[in-house]
Every structure is written in C-alpha cells, then in structure tokens.
Subunit: 577 residues, 2 copies
C-alpha cells in the first residue's frame, strides 16, 4: 500500500469531530447488530452455489488475483451457464418468448455467477436467492398462462444498489444507525423495474456516507475490483461495479452524484451510463441528501453491453413512464438513435483537466483510443477544459453546504467509527461550515454559468462529445481514492456520460512514469498524493475505462456513439471471452 | 378604496427595516434620475400615435372606465388597424408571405394600439417606436430579398416584460438602484424571439421587487386594468397583462414565480400560459432571484388567442431551440396535440382552496363554466385540494429564505421607499429570517412530497386537468392583492397552467355577497382581509379568468384542451368585438 500519510494529513484537517465517534456506545449497542447482519448475509449464501476458492481471499488480494480470468480459465460455470450469463438482455427475453429458455434457467445461472462474484469481491449487501427464484417462477407461469411477457425486462436478473429502498427489507445506505431501518415500499425505480418483469435477488454494497469513490463501511467492509482483487471496486455503487464486471447480473442500477456510477464501472471493468438529470425516478431512496438539488444524485444502469444499457433505458423510460410515479421525472421519451458513422463525429479530448495529471496507463489508454478514433475517421479536437478548478471547488461546496448536517445525524446516531474516506469527504468544500441560502444560491449561479460556458463551447465548435479519463488513475488501492475532479465535472455540468471499457489493461512493464514525468512540478498537494499513489507493480491488469459525455439530454446520441466506438472501432465485447 | 388598515397592520409586522428606507439619500441621489427616466419615457411617445382621452386619466380611474370598450366604440383605430391588430399571429405571418400585408403595416397598427394602451393603463416601462419600425423594415427587406420569412415570428410585434435584459438598454427590474443598469446582451428568450423574426418596440411594467401580483413601483407607478381603470392590472407582469388585453401587441412575454403571468392575464382580461419549468430559456434577466431554484421563475406567453399561445410555444421551442442557449432548457419538442373531444375530458374543479373563499363573481364564473363543461359532456370531479396550507406556507418560505438578502441589497442601494406590497412580500414566510441550507432542503423535500401527492391523485383518478380560480377575486384595487394561494399552488407543484378568459364579467347587480355569505366564519385574517375588500360596486365589469392546470409537461394537452373549452364550449374570442 502506498499511503503517504504526511500529505494525506495535510489535506485532511478534521475539525469539530471531537466527540463525534463514540467507540464505547458503538461497541455496546451497534456492533452486535452488525455482527448479526453479517451473520445473516453469510447464511443467505446457498452453499451449493459457492465455489472453492484457489486460496483464501486475503491471499488472493495480496497476489492481485484476476477473478474474471479465473472464472473462465477454471470453468467455474457450466457452458450453458456461461452462455446464459454472457447474453444480452434482448437475447434472454427473446429466448424466453421463443421457449428456448425459462426465467428460472436464466435466474439460476446468474444467481450462481453472482454468488461467486460475492465470494471474490464482497459485492453483496443483501442476498435473497429463494425470493428471486420465486419471482422467476412467477415470470415463467405468467408467460405460460398469458402467452406474453410481463414486460421488456421479463425474467431478467437485476442487481440494485442497496440504498434504493426495498419493500419490507432493511435499507441502511451503509449507515450503522439505519441497520434496522425496514423500508415499507420499493423505491420508484425498483417498482418500475419490477413492473417491467425484472427479478431481484441481490442488493449491492456502497461506502459509508455514500460519498466515496470507493467502498469501505462498517457493515460490509471493502468491495474489490474483480480484475485485480488488490484494487478498489470504485464507488459509491461499489458492489454494482464488481458484480457487473464479473457478470453476476444481467444489468444493475447504481446512483451517481459525483462519479458513483462511473467510478465503479471504470475501476471494476464494465460499462455504465450516468444519464441526464430527472430521466430516472428518484423517489424512495435512503441517503443523507434529501432535498439537496444543487447537484442531484442520478440513477443509471451498469452493464457489460452498451446494447443492454440502451435497452434498459428505452424500456425503463418508454414503458416504465417514471413521470407517473415521480413528479420530478421528465416525460422525455428515449429516442431510437442509429449508430453514427465515425466520419460524422467530432470529439473533444480532455487529456488533463488542469488539476490532477493522469497516470501512465490512463495516458496510454487515452492515446490508443484517440489514435483508433482518428484512424476510423473521427474528427478529434484537443480540449483544455476551462474553469475546472472553479467547477471542482463549487461542487465540493455543494455536497457539504448543509454543514454535513444530515451525514452527521446519521453517523452520530450510532457513534460508528469514521472510515478514512468519510473523513475525507466530510472535509470537502468548506467542510462542516453550514452555508446560508444566499451562499447556496451563489453556488448555483456559478454552476449555471459553467453549464452555459461548456454548452456554448460545444455548440459553437460543433462538437458532439467529450472524451475524458474517468479518473486520473486506473482503480486505485482501497481507501485511496481522493480526487473526483474528472467525474464531478460532468455532474456540475449535468452532462450525460457513458463510461466504457477500452479493452486496454494496465501493463506494469509499459505503464511506468518516464524520466520526464518524474521531473514534473505538482500543481497541488492533491495531485502529488494521487500521482505518488501510482506504482506500476501494484496495479497489474487494472481495466482502463473512459468517459464519453455530451450536452444535457443527448443521452441517446452518447449511447449510440458508444456503440460505434466500443463495438465497431475498439471492438471490445465484455460478453465474449 | 376599501383598505382595512387594522387587519393589514396585524398581518404585516415589519421587522428589521429600521434605517432601510433612506428618504434623504433617495431624494438627493435617485429622484432626479427617476424624473429623467420618466421624462424620457414620456418623450418616447410619438405624439401622432396618441389619442385624446375623453377625460384625464385620474377621472377615468374614479369612474371605473372601460378602455377596451371605448377603444372599439370610439373607433380609436382605423378599420384596417383593427383588422390587423385583431388577427392571430399565423394570419399575420401568412399575409406577409402572400404579400397582402407588410411588416411595417402590421407594426404601425400595433404601435398605435400600444401607445393608446399606455395612455390608458400606464403599461410601458420603455418605448422605442423608431427602433421597432426599423426592425419591421428589415423584415420586409429580408422577405423581399430572400423570398422567405426570417422565421415563424416574422414581423410580429412582441412586447416584453422589462426585467428581461435588452441589449444596450437599461434593465432595472423596477429597482431604482438599477435605473442606470445598461445590459450588454439580450436575454436568451429575447434573442430567440429576435432570431425567429419578432419586432420589439415596448418593454412593460412590473412592480417593485417583482414580487407583487400588482404593479406599483417608484419608477413607473401603477398599471391599470384596461376593462376597469380603477382596478389593478395584476402583476408582476403588469404591463404585459394590460397591453395584451388592450391588444397593443400580438403576443407578450411575462414571467411567473407565484402567479406573475397568470394574475395579470386574469385581472386585465387576456389569456396566458405558465409553462412547465425549463421549457423556456431563463438566461439574462435582472431580478433578485439569481441561483434560487426551489421555485424557479418561468417565462410564458400572454396573448388574446389560445391559438397564438400554441403557435408561440411551438415556434419558440421547436425552431428557437432554447437548450442551445440556456443549458437549463429542456429539449422537449412542442408536440402537436389535437383539440380533445369534451366527452373525453375529466376535469377536477377547485371551488375553494381551503384558505381564502372566492368572491361572488368568481363563484358565479366558475359555476357557469362548470355547467357549460358538463353540458358539453366533460366529466367533472369536485376536488378539495389537500395540504394547501402547507403548500402556501412552504412556497412563501422559499421566496424569502435568503432572508430577503438580494431584495434588500437592491432596495437599500437607493434607499427607495418601500411600497405597500413590498412590505407585504418581504414578510412572506419567515420574513427576513435567513435560512440555512438544511432548512431550505427541508422545504424542497416538502415540495417534492406535495408534487408526488397531487400527481398520484391525478394519475390514479384518471383526471386530465384541474380547473380553479386564478385568485379569490376578480382584479382587486391597486395595492390590495394580498393572497397568492390560488396561483402559487401550481408553482410549488410545477403544474403548467393556462389562464383563460371566460367571457364573463363582474356584474354589480348579481355578484353580491348573500345573506349566508355574510354569516361566514373566516378561517384566517388573510381571508377576512381579502373577502372584505370585495364590494360589488367597486369592481364593475372586471373580467373573470380561470386556471386550467395539469401534470408537469402536459403543457400541450392543456393548451389543446383550452381551445376546446374557450373556443368551442365557451365560445370566447378576444379578437372579436
């Protein structure tokens, strides 16, 4: 581990947390509940779906074990299970309609793969295999009885980030104080997915406060990148990233307020969409963000196939009609946009956001992708994004401008210990300074100016999309994800963003800092901390995922262009091994 | 005048305004500037476009003079001018294309009618007849040269509320301290309208702070209802209501944060749409609301014909593409929705919002409309709207929760005297208590709950629209508009709302309080104040305008239903006299 404590401490000035963590109360009142929760989680794993690991997980972690490669090389699933779980959603639905597969067959295959994913990565916050089986049986019975499917997600096993409320189950959002918080209703989005025919069986992990691009919390602990178990799965949709990259669900749902759908997708090795605001229902979730609208959290699909992301968005919006459930949701239909010809595309490339230099593997990945795009005929414009410092400072202030009131309320209710990155996030912006309304409005005003500035740039220069790193590094070590600037830029702009896999992985022999790199003068302590954390030998095989962003509500165009780039130009297919 | 000072004072507790108004400074530094502004405004009126008034305005006001009737009965315009100014926009555009009318002819007719409107109602904040003429000439030249129109608003004279920035002109938003504030660029919406071919010549009045449903301010004074000059034109788009009802522009643009498009339309006697949020560009305006997004101000068209409102929205959105200028604006195309059959409509009727009882003319107007709707086959559902007190209290807190910081900043910069209703609005909610972010988020959370509650009611009961009073009274006397509850309900819900004229006018012989009315026990001081202000003989001939609202982003359906109701069922045509 490459922690540089001196820099970390200088960046992390903890104020006013005296008496905040209460170890004695926590241990007496809450630790027993956590133990019980963990016991239940363990007992919910059907023995028959588990595999024998090659070594204890702690050793695999040290060895930077690649669980995805092992899944295939050790043939942990049957050929039929591989075939099912490496299909697209529309293939799975079609095969049910044609009588070639049942929902139960599909379900059993994904349940098996999900349990193995959890064994390696610790991606599950809750498992309910029997209930999922019952739902799958109901789907089969419905199709048999009515001769038609329930909806476009009929019999599709979907994983969901835990903080979306689930009817009759505990929803804790990784706050210990909520470990017995039974939510009476499904979240709006869960309800819609259920109406469309989905099957639920696993809820996935997220970090304490939901505000890390990482996974640690006092209930479920760390979630790991399936391509290198030493590394972080990303966050805050940590479990979603890991289960998706491992193939344990057909598609999953995460939420993103600063990169929380994109970081886990990029780090763990899968694809995802952070849609424009208010296209997905946001009712019925548990978090510390109620009423915060300067920078709303957005739900988005995480899946291995961009076709699946398209299919999910289209089904969810056009048939789910979220605006009938959540008055915030916009009745903007999901448009069918054809894959563009590369020659018709103009893409602006951000190689450096002016704040934190990217590490060698990201630099190489971006270079290779840009060269392939150019070769395919895409017009590339080099883009030094303006006002990124202002954007980053502003969004960081937005997160905490309630003086961390709600976070502290939920954290102090149990006195639980603060994880390393919770201390980090509670110090975002002005830390626990509680803004007044005028100050909050000033932040909104800055945000709107930035949005108009970037929109004007794209419109006037006829630029379709922006290509950028998702983070200044590949998946870092757990609890060492400090910089959010590459993802938050698109939250403050509210630009829809697809994270896609390049098919390129970190190579310790190639992705080294050069002599010139080492002479670099850091622009900030944050940059120094982030750059010094990258050491080639500790990131072996980490996936390289990039962002493709566009103007607000061009989600459809981004997904279509994603298919051109990923399927046609890069020829990356995460369903093929 | 029916002011009941004791109740007024009990409702209006002015705190912390000591030293706020600074008469000496105001008179020494600012009054001369105001005089100069007023002189310029007067001098901008071309003598040849004015008419001789039957009596001085002060006397006409006392007589409750109906200027609209007089316009026609005294034939203040030529037949051709009447024909032009009583046409729809599409008729005017078609006639230009066909060579039957020039933009200059159209312009001259509207300019004439606008100047007369201003003589009677004091609706103008700025007049620039020569510039408008030049624009009209340019439109004619363009059509001649290119054989096609500039856009769908080619040569259409449009009035605009003053607080939308105008390139190179002063934009003061009725704050004396901004009386020399030259804005360098057009507002986004002004720019779009210009691109579509519109012609500008008049900017219209609004009250101090923009937060009265009335008109008074220290720069332009009161604006009057053209159907009864004793009464208020409404506000805050005061001048827009008056000029539209009088026919001085083909269509106008107002803004609405609590009823400011709807109150002037209802009071002055015209139609208008308060669209759903973020369909119209909101960049480039002057107000005290920068960065406030709990309840955004929305721009909307004010015009005599619902066809024109439809045409304006369609042109503005589909051809103006506001999202390319204002990143907030949503790329939701304006859909062509056919006029519905009355038999397919279900309308919920609010007769009383539980807060302030409506006056006899509103009660009668609503009754008559409901009976006609029923007779036409519309299904009517009586609707007692829930949680209206919470809704009203919450939105009032939202307005002022910056502790009136921005209002005070602009007001105190000149020390200008506060008008009666400015004192009223500065005491909305918790007055000058400055909320912190947590408290503001709580308000947002309440708002979202209300939206979902009302949306659920409409969806589950298959209700298409809500019909309601725009205000508990017809146009009241100037400076006596206290209650906003009927309009603000649809701001906090963000339900698009059409205000339409019923063709029914107050009749002092009919619209009296009954014996039973007089035994009524008031639910609040506010209700008492409002109800006691209605005295039949002081509101002669005041128009009765109602609201038709629906779920968010059903703007098109509301406008289409408005045509069914107004054109087909009520058979009201404000372009015919």
């Amino acid at each position: 581990m490459s922690t540089n404590n001196s820099i970390f401490e200088s960046l992390l000035t903890i104020e006013d947390f005296a008496g905040f963590e209460d170890q004695a109360r926590y241990e007496a009142e809450w630790l027993p509940k956590i133990k019980k929760y963990q016991e239940n989680l363990k007992n919910a794993i059907p023995k028959e779906l588990t595999v024998e690991l090659p070594k204890p997980v702690a050793e695999l972690i040290k060895e930077q074990f690649n669980a995805v490669d092992y899944l295939y090389s050790a043939k942990l699933l049957t050929p039929k299970e591989f075939e099912i779980t490496d299909s697209t959603i529309s293939q799975l639905v079609d095969k049910q309609v044609e009588g070639e597969l049942t929902a139960v067959e599909i379900y059993n295959a994904f349940a098996h793969r999900a349990i193995i994913a959890h064994q390696f990565t610790n991606c599950a916050a809750e498992i309910f295999i029997d209930e999922g089986l019952k739902q799958a049986e109901e789907r089969d019975a419905y199709l048999k009885e009515h001769g038609k499917i329930v909806g476009p997600l009929h019999g599709i096993p979907i994983s969901i980030k835990e903080h979306l409320n689930y009817k009759g189950k505990v929803t804790h959002a990784s706050f210990v104080s909520l470990i017995e918080n039974v939510t009476p209703e499904h979240s709006g989005t869960t309800k819609i997915l259920e109406n469309l025919g989905a099957v639920f069986y696993i809820r996935t992990t997220q970090p304490q406060t939901l505000m890390h691009l990482d996974s640690n919390n006092n209930i479920t602990g760390l979630t790991k990148c399936p391509f290198n178990l030493l590394l972080s799965a990303g966050g805050s949709s940590s479990g979603e990233g890991a289960i998706s990259a491992f193939g344990g669900s057909a598609i999953g749902v995460g939420s993103d307020i600063g990169g929380s759908v994109r970081s886990p997708s990029a780090f763990s090795g899968t694809n995802a969409l952070r849609p424009s605001t208010r296209r997905i229902a946001e009712t019925g979730t548990t978090s510390a963000g109620a009423g915060q609208e300067s920078v709303p959290a957005i739900f988005g699909p995480i899946g291995r196939s961009i076709d699946d992301i398209d299919y999910w968005m289209k089904s969810y919006i056009n048939e789910g009609k979220p605006w009938l459930i959540d008055a915030w949701a916009l009745p903007i239909p999901w448009r069918s946009v054809p894959k563009p010809d590369p020659k018709d595309l103009t893409i602006a490339v951000i190689r450096d956001d002016g704040l934190v230099r990217v590490s060698p593997p990201i630099r190489r990945g971006l270079n290779e992708v840009v060269e392939k795009l150019k070769a395919a005929g895409v017009r590339i414009v080099e883009f030094q994004p303006p006002n990124t410092k202002l954007a980053y400072e502003t969004i960081n202030k937005m997160y905490n401008c309630d003086g961390n009131y709600m976070q502290k309320k939920y954290l102090s209710a149990s006195g639980e210990p603060l994880t390393r990155l919770t201390k980090w996030d509670l110090n975002f912006g002005d830390g626990s300074k509680h803004y007044n309304v005028k100050e909050n409005r000033e932040l909104n005003y800055i945000r709107d100016g930035l949005r108009n500035e970037y929109t004007k740039f794209l419109v006037e220069n006829k630029i379709d999309f922006i290509l950028s790193p998702t983070y200044n590094n590949v998946a870092p070590h757990s609890e060492e994800v400090y910089n959010w600037s590459y993802t938050t830029l698109f939250n403050i702009l509210d630009f829809p963003t697809l994270v896609f896999q390049t098919g390129i992985f970190q190579d310790p022999n190639v992705d080294k800092w050069t002599e010139e790199d080492l002479k670099y003068e850091y622009r900030s302590d944050l940059e120094k901390l982030e750059n010094e954390n990258y050491k080639p030998d500790e990131f072996i095989g980490a996936p390289i995922g990039l962002q493709l962003s566009g103007r607000r509500y061009t989600d459809e165009e981004i997904v279509a262009a994603g298919k051109t780039i990923v399927d046609d130009i890069l020829k990356v297919d995460l369903l093929k091994h």
